[in-house]
């Protein structure tokens, strides 16, 4: 976790180290800054502790401690962070109550890399 982000960056919340490493590596190659959190709780505390908010949140669903839905519910309650576009990806094959969580976009695992890069580009410019 980088301590001070000044340029636009992506917050990636996924418990699977292999996945987050791969995504981070690829997005870095594309020239995007990526910050990783390993569960919802970690992601939430990171968001709240930073002045500079990420331009996009990439969110996994199945995670220990706080899952993606719980994270999103907390995020939506917090005015300081609820405007951040949030893209959800999960292998669950279903996005429960998707509408209620007002996700910016949903991406199904295994991820389509091009679609992911396009989404990041769109929000980070």
């Amino acid at each position: 976790m980088n301590q001070d982000q000044t340029s636009p960056y992506v917050l990636l919340i996924d418990d699977d180290v292999d996945i987050s490493d791969a995504i981070k590596s690829i997005l870095s190659d594309e020239g995007h800054e990526v910050v990783c959190a390993h569960n919802g709780l970690e992601g939430l505390s990171y968001l709240r502790s930073r002045q500079q908010k990420p331009s996009l949140i990439l969110l996994d669903i199945m995670m220990p401690k706080m899952n993606g839905y719980e994270f999103r519910a907390e995020q939506l309650k917090d005015d300081s962070i609820n405007k951040i576009p949030t893209v959800v990806f999960s292998a669950a094959g279903r996005f429960d109550e998707e509408d209620a969580f007002q996700f910016t976009a949903t991406v199904k695992k295994p991820l389509d890399l091009q679609r992911l890069i396009d989404l990041v580009k769109m929000h980070l410019g």
Binding site: I19, M62, A91, A92, K109, L111
Partner: protein, 680 residues
């Protein structure tokens, strides 16, 4: 009472019979009356006829008397006196004969008879004087002297006087008869309508009688019939409670009575029929309700809401055989005190209770409180069975084929036994109930199986996709480098990392697939064991070495304690799989915490304990976790198919061993694998 009255033979038929006899007697009477009334007429006609004969005789007699008259010139000039006398005598005979004939026609009391007697007398005088004359004549010469002629003339005069008397008397007879005839004619004429009048009178009387009797009888019959008709109409319109009044104790009365009896029996029949229909409808309703009941609990709801109400039971219970088959559990009650329910929540299947007997022998039991049978159930004293009177207790077994699921118990407030249709109805109800319970259990099992399968498919797809995601990402990353021509810029260690990551994902996938194959083998009964004898401690050490790489990532410290080493004759690969499973779980649920393995031995059994210091498992979850697709807190976000413990349990049980868990929340869990050293 009625029958006695009917048996007194005062029936319409008898009355009609007596009327017929009366009419016959009446006709005979009429005949006699007519006979006697016409008898006078007959007598008159007879008398008339007799008188006519008399008149004939008398006029003939007069004629013959005229010819007998002796005239003087004839007598004097006559040469042959003998011939004259002969003719005279013949004529006299005729006259006398006629008179005597007439006398025969009359009775001595008759006036005519007296006259005829006098005529006879006169004739005999005439004859004797005429005889004198003929005697005198025969003594004389043919030429007679004047004196002689005078004497003869005097004789003739004298005898003529007698003849004249006789003639006079004959005329008198004629006059008397004439007068009498006139009188008879008058009488006949006067009485000529008398028999007619009698006949008319009698027939009038007869018709009046017949009409009066007939009318009264027909009115009586008519009233009875219309009374019966009224009853028939009422009954036809559905009023079966109407009873026709018995007006007279005759045939129609009997008919009415029979009609009433018929209606009563019809009503009884109809009551029974409507009861049967009510029951059939009830059963249909219950069946329909049963078919909608999906869970056993819903079936019990139907039993109480529909069945018990239809049967009007006081109270009852559904008692089910427990899973182990050793006890009975009250699953649902109605109308029972909570204290009784609490006391009898479960009781042994071999209790000396009718309900237990009903289940044990799968036979329905119907007993009354008052029955002596009650005393043979020793455990009944412990219930409140004897406290209430006039009750019938019914125990109906719930069976599917030869399997007894449980029993329905019902208690009714009634003194008399149930009849066969009632019992049949209850048995039908029990059958429906058993089928519904059985169906609901099947449904429940199927639903759970489907839910578990859906859950499994969802988890399986998630678990299979999870390793695929980084794998694909790595490949796509490489592809992008190739496209850009930056592949050669990649440092060697990064390429190695990509390959290692990919390799790990492929291992994850292959483990998942192995697990799925194991489940498939277990569920199809094709889990085969390759037994070999090996040292348990050596096996544990091999596992620890094999697993050390994984343990590093979860930063768990593994502590192995061998209390007593022993040999095991098991499928080594499978037992290793069990231990690795337990270690993986410990590392997964209690990361960064020490894991303890202890190996011990008692009585030919080897115990391998794997203890973690993780969050622990709630008591309610401890049994569940060994089932297929179950994970502690499935909402929790620990990945995995939830197959590890299930597969482990199956493997251990295939070795005739057991796997158990003991855990305290917040302190950790201990899984104990207990295996017999040798098994067959």
């Amino acid at each position: 009472m009625l029958n006695n009255q009917f048996n007194q033979n005062s029936s319409i038929l008898n009355r009609l019979r007596s009327v017929m006899v009366a009419i016959a007697l009446f006709i005979v009477l009429c005949f006699f009356a007519l006979f006697f009334s016409s008898q006078g007429l007959y007598k008159n006609l007879q008398a008339l006829n007799q008188d006519n004969n008399l008149l004939n005789y008398s006029s003939q007699a007069l004629e013959s008397l005229n010819s007998t008259e002796l005239r003087l010139p004839d007598v004097i000039n006559r040469t042959n006196i003998t011939e004259l006398r002969y003719r005279f005598t013949e004529n006299m005979k005729v006259s006398e004969k006629l008179i005597s004939n007439a006398m025969e026609q009359t009775s001595q009391t008759d006036e005519v008879h007296q006259i005829l007697l006098k005529i006879n007398e006169a004739l005999s005088h005439f004859r004797s004087s005429s005889d004198l004359t003929f005697n005198r004549l025969s003594g004389m010469e043919l030429s007679k002297s004047t004196k002689e002629v005078d004497e003869i003339n005097a004789d003739l005069m004298a005898s003529r006087q007698y003849l004249l008397d006789a003639k006079e008397l004959l005329r008198k007879v004629q006059i008397v008869i004439q007068q009498r005839n006139d009188k008879i004619f008058n009488t006949i004429y006067k009485n000529r309508f008398k028999p007619l009048l009698v006949a008319v009178f009698l027939s009038t009387l007869f018709f009046t009688f017949v009409l009066t009797f007939g009318l009264s009888l027909s009115r009586k019959i008519g009233r009875s019939i219309s009374n019966l008709l009224e009853a028939t109409d009422k009954v036809a319109n559905g009023n079966l409670d109407y009873q026709a009044r018995v007006l007279h104790f005759d045939e129609i009365g009997r008919l009415t009575d029979a009609f009433n009896k018929m209606i009563t029996s019809l009503k009884t029949g109809q009551d029974e029929l409507s009861l049967a229909i009510e029951r059939t409808n009830g059963l249909q309703n219950i069946t329909a309700a049963f078919s909608e009941a999906l869970t056993p609990e819903q079936v019990f709801d139907v039993v109480f809401e529909k069945a018990y109400k239809t049967l009007k039971a006081l109270y009852g219970a559904v008692v089910m055989v427990s899973e182990d088959g050793n006890s009975l559990e009250i699953r649902r009650t109605i109308g029972l005190d909570q204290s009784i329910i609490d006391k009898w929540k479960t009781f042994p299947i071999n209790s000396d209770l009718p309900v237990a007997e009903c289940v044990r022998y799968a036979k329905p039991i119907f007993i009354k409180n008052s029955d002596m049978d009650v005393k043979k159930y020793k455990d009944l004293e412990k219930t409140d069975f004897n406290k209430k009177n006039e009750q019938i207790h019914v125990y109906l077994p719930l069976t599917i084929g030869s399997e007894v699921l449980g029993a329905l118990t019902l208690t009714f407030k009634r003194a008399e036994d149930f009849d066969t249709p009632e019992k049949e109805f209850m048995l039908a109800l029990a059958r429906q109930c058993s089928q519904a319970i059985h169906r609901s259990e099947l449904y429940d099992d199927a639903r759970k199986a489907i839910e578990a399968r859906d859950e499994f498919l969802s988890i399986a797809s998630h678990e299979l996709r999870t390793p695929l995601t980084p794998l694909k990402l790595q490949l796509q990353g490489l592809e992008r480098h190739i496209m850009r021509g930056t592949l050669s810029d990649l440092p060697a260690e990064k390429v190695v990392k990509i390959i290692q990551t990919s390799d790990r994902q492929i291992n994850r996938l292959s483990t998942l697939i192995d697990d799925l194959l194991d489940v498939s083998r277990i569920t199809t009964g094709k889990l085969s064991l390759n037994k070999e004898t090996f040292s348990v401690s050596e096996m544990i050490n091999e596992v620890v070495i094999q697993y050390s790489q994984q343990l590093k990532t979860s930063q768990s410290n593994l502590h192995v304690t061998i209390l007593e080493d022993s040999q095991g004759n098991w499928d080594k690969v499978r037992i290793e799989q069990v231990i690795i499973n337990l270690l993986t779980n410990a590392a997964k649920y209690a990361p960064n915490k020490p894991i303890h393995i202890t190996v011990g031995k008692t009585k030919g059994h080897v115990q391998i304990k794997v203890r973690d210091e993780g969050p622990g498992i709630a008591p309610e979850d401890q049994e569940r976790i060994f089932k297929r697709f179950e994970r502690v807190n499935s909402k929790n976000n620990v990945g995995g198919l939830g197959l590890g413990l299930y597969i482990s349990k199956q493997i251990v049980e295939a070795h005739k061993g057991s796997i158990t868990v003991s855990s305290t929340l917040g302190e950790g869990s201990t899984f104990t694998v207990d295996l017999p050293q040798e098994f067959h």
